[in-house]
């Protein structure tokens, strides 16, 4: 079946609320998934993989405290970016406004692709943003120029992870005059050349994906829609004669 963007976001909001996300968090999480899906990054596929974990325990935002370090480092203890992505990018933006540039590292986090929408949001507010992370066999970089609507996404076929940073996410943020690429390359000062060119996705890809999704609707797997129904049911109240009377006749 097909759903519209509005319908997808509405279903996601209720589903995340059903998972225990609080007001604000479920709005942001819905936007993160919808953005990824609308822009061709298979947000729903990623969410399908994440749902069993998200549904394994009650979720609510955790207060974050940075680890003692001269840099901003957080350990989110296995949480999803869907829960902490807003906090992380907000910190990066705040530091960038004060100091012209910021780098925030998040350890032990999952579903890192979804940070892209948060970066897009910050870019629309006039900041250059970037995030990178390692997966098994690839190194992913998402970068927005200030005010840009679409990112440049680069995938490098290289494994630069080590045990300590396997599930880490780096978020860079800077004023428009700052070159975030320099900050990125400083992560691997001895080996950036090993990365090569990587495969890139540019404006045209994202614009086409968005336009197609808007025009024709979004493909929704029946199993995932059923999951949404199940999660949404958690925020609904049972119907009784008394409750029906509450709506007037």
């Amino acid at each position: 079946m097909k759903v519209s963007k509005n319908e997808l976001i509405a279903a996601l909001k209720k589903s995340f609320e059903g998972l225990g996300f609080q007001y604000g968090d479920y709005l942001d999480a819905a936007n993160m998934v919808a953005w990824a899906q609308m822009h061709g990054l298979d947000g729903l596929g990623q969410l399908s993989l994440a749902l069993p974990f998200l549904d394994s325990k009650p979720h609510s935002s955790r207060a974050l405290e940075p680890a003692p370090s001269e840099f901003w480092v957080f350990d989110v203890e296995g949480d999803s970016i869907l829960l902490c992505g807003s906090q992380i990018v907000d910190i990066a933006c705040s530091v960038a406004r004060r100091q012209s540039a910021a780098c925030v590292r998040v350890d032990n986090c999952h579903n890192r692709l979804f940070v892209t929408e948060r970066l897009a949001n910050a870019a629309q507010r006039g900041l250059a943003t970037m995030a990178c992370w390692s997966t098994s066999g690839t190194f992913e970089v998402v970068a927005f120029e200030a005010h840009a609507r679409y990112p440049k996404v680069t995938r490098f076929a290289i494994d630069k992870r080590d045990a300590a940073t396997r599930q880490s996410l780096f978020v860079f943020c800077g004023l428009p005059t700052v070159d975030l690429q320099v900050m990125l390359e400083s992560l691997v000062p001895d080996g950036w050349n090993e990365f090569g060119n990587g495969t890139e996705l540019h404006d045209d890809f994202f614009r086409s994906a968005y336009d197609a999704a808007l025009d024709g609707g979004i493909d929704m797997p029946a199993s995932l829609w059923s999951s949404f129904d199940r999660l949404t049911a958690r925020v609904l109240v049972e119907s009784t004669e008394t409750s029906r009377a509450g709506a007037g006749e």
């Binding site: 906090q87 409750s243 007037g248």
Partner: protein, 596 residues
Amino acid sequence: MDIYLPHLLSLQEAAFEAPPEAAEPVAVLPLADRGELPMRPAEQVMQLDRLGSFHQFRLSFMRTLVRRMMAEKWSIENVAFDLDSGGYGTVVYRVQALYGRYSFVLFSNYLDDTLRNDRVIANQWDLTMALCEGSVDHEQLEQLRTNIPKQEAGRVDSRVLVLSRANKSARNFDYVVDELARGEQPNIDRIAEVGYLYRTTAAYGSGKLGMADWDKVRSVHRDFARPFAAEMFTCFMLRHFSLQQVEFLAAQRAPATAVALDDRIKRFFGIGNSTGLGMAPFLINHPKLINQWVEVRETALATVMRDGHCSAEKVEELRGFVCRVRQHLAEIVTEDALQKASNGLVHDELLQLLAWLDDFGPTLTDWQQLSEHASHYWRVETQELINSLLIELFPELVDVLENHMDTDERYDCIPEMPVCDLLASIERAYDWALEFDFSEPVQRGIFWYRSEEKMEPRLGHTDIDAGADRQMQLVVARSVSECYRALNAYLGEYPDDDVARFLMRQPQYRGIVCRIQTMAPLRYGEIRENLAHREILPMHLLRCKLSFFGVSKFDPRSRLWVRNTMFQGAPLVSDFLSSDAASLVDSWQFPVKPAF
């Protein structure tokens, strides 16, 4: 200048730059003349009882739609009218508008009188219908036939813009067919009791059930690129069909004697509407849009106050409007005692207005004099009705605003805003919210929740009804109060922190902080009411939104739902190209019985 302020300005698309401290509200309308307008303050306008006293006005969505259709000479023709002798079957209209072609598809099905139900939980209706882009081929028609009658239980695709349904008026429908079959026109006094043949209970758009997303409608289908334009057009087409159907049935029953409806009676038929709590959360969940609508209305009013001349002609025109409205009020049939009494009081105060115009009209220099007199002597509903009439007097000043009802509804968190500045924003823009004492049982007497049955919004009584643990986040005042307390406590410990650091440590306030940061700079902002108050009247929320739709003849059936009439008095499709078009296009506000 604080670092975050340039960002704030870019967010708001300000018509003029706010001063560095952003102490004054930011205008969001790009007005051609940016001189000082006497805008009414938010603390006056955004009171729930005043919003619930708004009446239809010139820039209401139905009025704008009709002006557009007639100015652009939309063509509306039957391409299929396959009804049996009972009036059941399929009808397809082709609509050629300025920018595109559309199809309006309608299915008429038999429905037993005992099964007719206006509630959102109903699952059968007399009519179901859809507005579609382009032409509809046989394959699509069959898909629609399978799904449209199911309404929320079915699925459609992005070629569908609006989905709706309607039920017959038991009082009017058969009576009208009978009279026409006998060769007679229906009695206008009887029609006036219920001014419609069908009553719609929902019109879904904006991407629900697989339909075209609002962003698609807005960008691709320019003919409907205004809020609820497509939904209003669907109701207009429903009215058109209802008039065709009764004539068809009369001719089927008595081909030798049946007559067509007189055009003046046809125009007096509108479409009934039944609106309940389902509409109420919209006003809280779309605060930027509501702010925009209110700001358009207030800008129109303020422009009239500043630039509208008090000529003898205009005073006389106002007198004519007032007389018409008094007749309109006198013709409203409602069983609700409070509404009946209110209509009567407004009717009486409008008589006082006529006397006031006799005394002061000849020397009136500006309309502010009338506004001030009204605010001192007459009730809120009369005041707002007068405002609607004043706006009506000056189309050349206000019609330009009809394209400004839409807005970017994005919320944005400003993480670099200092906590102390956020507190100041709350104290300036949400002072009203801080006055409620939520420890008092009456202030938290009810809660809003979604029912299992079609996720219908309902009200529950705190400490009595189940569901408070799953309540909807609609009580903005309470959320603001809690956030304010937390911010004050936080500031004591971290005086130099910003919002990002606050939310890092207290993420539970993220939603309300983003809302405050988004809404505080706007001129009108939030509806200033505690929606958890035990005595809250949701009716005010419904009436406010319905006034922007342009409905008339409110008939409350309880404090939670209201019947009303849409497009009553509006021009017919056959009027679009008539020689009377110019006189009909904007003469149907506050409809009255046609005179014969």
